[in-house]
Symmetry: C2
Subunit: 255 residues, 2 copies
Amino acid sequence: MLFFTQCFGAVLDLIHLRFQHYKAKRVFSAAGQLVCVVNPTHSLKVLGDQSEKGQGWEAEKDRCHATHAYTHPSSHHLHHSHEAVHDPQLIPCTCPLFSCQWEGHLEVVVSHLQQTHRINILQGAEIVFLATDMHLPAPTDWIIMHSCLGHQFLLVLRKQEKYEGHLQFFATMMLVGTPTQADNFTYRLELNRNQRRLKWEATPRSVLECVDSVISDGDCLVLNTSLAQLFSDNGSLAIGIAITSSQHHTAESDM
Amino acid sequence: MLFFTQCFGAVLDLIHLRFQHYKAKRVFSAAGQLVCVVNPTHSLKVLGDQSEKGQGWEAEKDRCHATHAYTHPSSHHLHHSHEAVHDPQLIPCTCPLFSCQWEGHLEVVVSHLQQTHRINILQGAEIVFLATDMHLPAPTDWIIMHSCLGHQFLLVLRKQEKYEGHLQFFATMMLVGTPTQADNFTYRLELNRNQRRLKWEATPRSVLECVDSVISDGDCLVLNTSLAQLFSDNGSLAIGIAITSSQHHTAESDM
């Protein structure tokens, strides 16, 4: 009798696991570390054909340049003359995703990402981002948002054919905040498999800058397909993420 | 009198520094760490025109495939059937540099590199590789050899246009030894500048494998030009190098 009860329990566990597999986001704890399974987002499909061979990329870049007040790092310190300086939450902001035409204020971009793009917010400064279905054709995005150190951060992994016949993966971290606030943090991305380890550490960029500009500039973690395969396990790529507060900017704190 | 002696000493020092600057290799110690200034090698010029747009690359790859017994990682464990297994030093070996047609035995490849390509051997497991003149057109190689842990290692940094209009830098570490010997070590390359840090850790490859295959497979540290510029200072790129002995292979030791 006990044997049958155990079998039934095992079958229930299998059904539960299969159900979890088809959920858009899956979070579990492995060896004390938060692992977030991230399926590709399909927001790029709108610009699908257009974006091939970089045409959509350029179009999107133009859109960013036209609408963002904070597109370039060189404009980081121009915000003092901006009309919304007294409340950064009211700064005009577009959706950081590739094909979305949404425009609003910084304070509502998180709810837009949650509601329109179904991006969940995870808690914790150190997580493992497990991107599934790495074989899917470019362009494809894998996105998570996580909340730590009093802010929301957006990790974007993109598969893109920036040069004809040369697929690459780009990973960057964006702060839902101003460039001045972003300067207060450091993020680290780490890949570790097959006796190879790759670490990238940088200051996050602001969502007020354009994620497409950051990626097209290549100022992020860049992987070619053969390296991505070496770091992948069964079509999934695990990226360890850690965010820390930079010490040297604490005097400035939030604007 | 003392003042004039000191002035004369200072002038002598300046002349000496200027002489050192024009030497092919320059080594000095900064903050306790060995810094090696590496000028580009000109060994690629022979295949200059041919190698543009990857033609020379393919030609060289074919040469490697034709002459090397150890071209692929998958053949690492096939050496037991090799006729020279009792003395790895007698394994046939070609020059690891791009355009050189030299062929000989493993035991004489170091002296070939020193004599024909004027590559110096540095001592120490941790050094800083300072590649100068990063702006030079591709293809260009920056190469040093260093001796530590009882072996000689070759660091190759290459600027190459693998895809038309897309210049990249590739850095890899080769052991002057067999693939089995190479498995006993781990190397780390580190770039650190402009609030960005990039680390690559892997097992060195054997010079019996083809350096061009390693680079064309992209199984090495890969930098696009914009990242290389961010990590460069005044046209020079500093790469921290560390080599350690892998613990899990100590039982096998050298074959």
